[in-house]
Structures are given as C-alpha cells and as structure tokens.
Symmetry: C2
Subunit: 233 residues, 2 copies
C-alpha cells in the first residue's frame, strides 16, 4: 500500500510539540514552583529538577533520537551514530532526573518507591538501558552478522517503541501524581497551574503519538510501511 504522507512531516510536528512541551515544563517548574536547585534548604527546588530532566532529557531527547533516523538526510552510518548518542544522553539525563527525585524524597523524609509511577519509571529506564546496550552491540560495535541484524532490526524497532510508550505513560503518571499531591495541599483544581500541567500532559501524549507515527511511517511517500519497518535502512 502506498502511503501519501512521508515521515518527515510527522517529525516536523513532533519538533513543534517538543518545543511547546519543554517551554511549558520550564514555566511550571520555574515560574509556578520557584525554580531548580541540586542543593537547597527549599527541598521543592530539588524535586523540580525531576520533571524538567525527565521531560526534556528523557522523553523529548529520547523521542528526537527515535525520529532522527527519519529527520536527517545523512548517510546511514551517521544517522546511526546520532541515534545512539541522543539515546545515550537521554538515558544519562533520565538517570540524573531519577536521582533528583530520590534526593528530594530522602532529604524531605518522604518514602521511596511505593507508587506506580516510581515502579514503572525504574522498570522503563532499565528496559531502555538494556535496549540501548542490545542495539549498540548488534548494530554498532562489534556488530552482528548482516543476517542476524536483518532479523533483529524489526524487533529493535518494536521493543524500542513499546519501551518508549511505557516512558510516555510513566510521564503521564508523573504529571497526575505531582498535581494530585499539590491539589491535596490546597492548589486550585481548576486554576491556571493545574490547567497548564494537564495541558502539557496532553501535549506530551500528542508528541509521543507523532514520534511513534514518524517512526513507523515511510521515509518517502512512495515506499510502503512494510519496507521501512522491516529493512535495515
């Protein structure tokens, strides 16, 4: 089946949504929540690093890493290098973001790892790391036999997208959890801050949907979906 819309258009929409979402999380954490700090007597400022790094570092950079294959006009080897470097940065920033949440909990006497958000977060980042190592070894260095690569690639794409969707779901859980805590402490349920956070959560859903569609869409309009997802190109 020929598909009329090449992947590049979906990547453009993804970039725009990424910028909107990044700006909104910064407005939330800096304007509404008082700013960011790795060390402070105001422990909330330590927490604020968590949503900023998880969203801009892990979700957005991870999404850009996924669609970089479709967004750049470079040779395959260059795109592969960009793909793995962006994913590595996303992984490191995600780990630092999780560290910030633990640091905030520990310095504020809040329990760790009891919520679904924390369970899925740790599970997802572990799967993400395993997926990165698997991809590095099979497709980059030392690199598997071409026949093995050919068999492994569609699974790399499918598992990668499943892990990314898990990361998106975890981000949604994070928005809801933090906002519920704030509303229980008196934040207005229909106020501007609550609206901004929920709106950003919807922008992230849309960003994720466009990343996934861009990843499975053909690079050129005349290609079929099948070829792009199952050939190593």
């Amino acid at each position: 089946m020929a598909v009329g819309v090449p992947a590049i258009w979906f990547t453009f929409v993804s970039h725009v949504l990424a910028v909107v979402s990044a700006v909104l999380v910064l407005i939330w954490c800096i304007h509404f929540r008082g700013g960011l700090a790795f060390a402070s007597t105001n422990k909330s400022l330590i927490f604020n690093i968590h949503p900023v790094l998880m969203l801009i570092g892990f979700i957005i950079l991870g999404g850009e890493a996924i669609i970089s294959y479709k967004a750049f006009p470079f040779p395959k080897e260059v795109k592969k290098l960009i793909h793995l470097i962006l994913h590595a940065i996303a992984l490191v920033l995600g780990a630092v973001g999780i560290y910030a949440a633990f640091k905030y909990h520990n310095e504020s006497g809040i329990a760790n790892l009891y919520s679904l958000h924390s369970w899925l977060e740790l599970g997802t980042i572990c799967l993400y790391a395993i997926q990165w190592i698997f991809g590095f070894v099979v497709f980059f260095f030392p690199g598997a036999h071409p026949a093995v690569r050919g068999e492994a690639l569609p699974w790399h794409v499918r598992f990668g997208l499943i892990i990314y969707v898990l990361a998106l779901a975890t981000a949604e859980l994070g928005f809801l959890e933090k906002l519920t805590f704030l509303e229980n402490s008196g934040l207005a349920k229909y106020g501007p801050e609550a609206f901004l956070v929920n709106f950003n959560a919807l922008v992230v859903v849309l960003f994720g949907a466009f990343v996934v569609i861009a990843a499975v869409a053909p690079a050129h309009a005349e290609e079929t979906y099948a070829y792009t997802t199952i050939s190593d190109s």
Copy 2:
C-alpha cells in the same frame, strides 16, 4: 522477514493476563473496598463500579475484541461480527463505568473533570466511539468500495491501536489516582492493598502489550508482519 511466533500464542498469554487482572480488580473492589452498588448511602460502593466496569468491560473486553481476529478460526465475516459486537459491548460498559464515576462525584460533592485521568478518559472513549462508527460504516454496513477498504484498513488498525494504548494509559492513571487518594487518607503505602493495586496495574500493562503484539503479529508463522497488517484478511 519470516517470524517464528504466530499471533495465537500471544492471544493465549493475553487471555491468562486478562483473567488475573479481572480477579484482582474484583478482590480489590469487593474484599478491600466493601463491594459494588449503583445506589447506596455508602457512596464509595458506587465508585467501586467504575474500576470494575472500566477494567473488565472496557480494557479487557476491548482487548479481546482486538485480538478476536487472531484468536478465532472462523470465516472473516464471522470474525468481523464478533470484533464489532465485542467492541460495542466494551463501549457501552465503559460509558456506564464513567457514569458511575460522575454519580459518585455528584452524590459526594466531589468536583468533576479536573484531573488528567478524567480528561484522557473522556477523550479516549470519544475516539473509541468514532473509531467504532468509522469501522462499522466502512467495513460492515453499508461498507465502502474494496479499494477504499484496502486503503482504510491499515489506518483502522493503527488508529485503533493508538486509541487502545491511550485507554491503557488512562487505566494506569486511574489506578495511581485512586491509590494516591486512599494513601492520602491513611492507607499504608507499602501495605497489601497498595501492593495489589500496583501489581494489577503492571498486569494490565503486560496485558496491553500482549494485545498489541498479537494484533500486529502474523496469524501464521510463515507470514510476514507486513502482509497481516496491510491486507484485508
């Protein structure tokens, strides 16, 4: 690319996870939360209908509707009828489940539609209904021209799966939101009920993943993924 595992095995795993998840939500709402009632002075019993119907009715039955195409050995027309009837029942039970949440809120003086869970829930069930109507008109009655069906089917599959993943994410938000409310009211964060609910949320993630994999996997081992997802069979 030939794939070694036909879809039927993924559907078997999905069924098992569905049963586990249905039993766990019933244990939660009946044993831990006191039971179900459409009218009661104990308003919590009205709320309890919500997770039971959304999970067993909407998520599980909706998932079974999706994989019914791969699970049954019947002719295409029979499978199509089962597919659309199961989705219709899921849609109705989902709508009744949402009604129960509103009824509980209204009778308990709790605000409606301020949380991300409620926003995504309403958005998802509307998309689900649109998808059902679109599928009914194009593929069942009156039915579009075969060429139009051929073009529409892969989009029906892709949008259907995106909407189903949104439904799964909304269910996860629901588990987290309700548990957070209960924990704020004194429920033990590491207690048996919290563990049961979080564990069930993970079972639902796995169920959803197996439903999606079953939906995109080939019906027979020797088929390619491509043929099954893009041909009207």
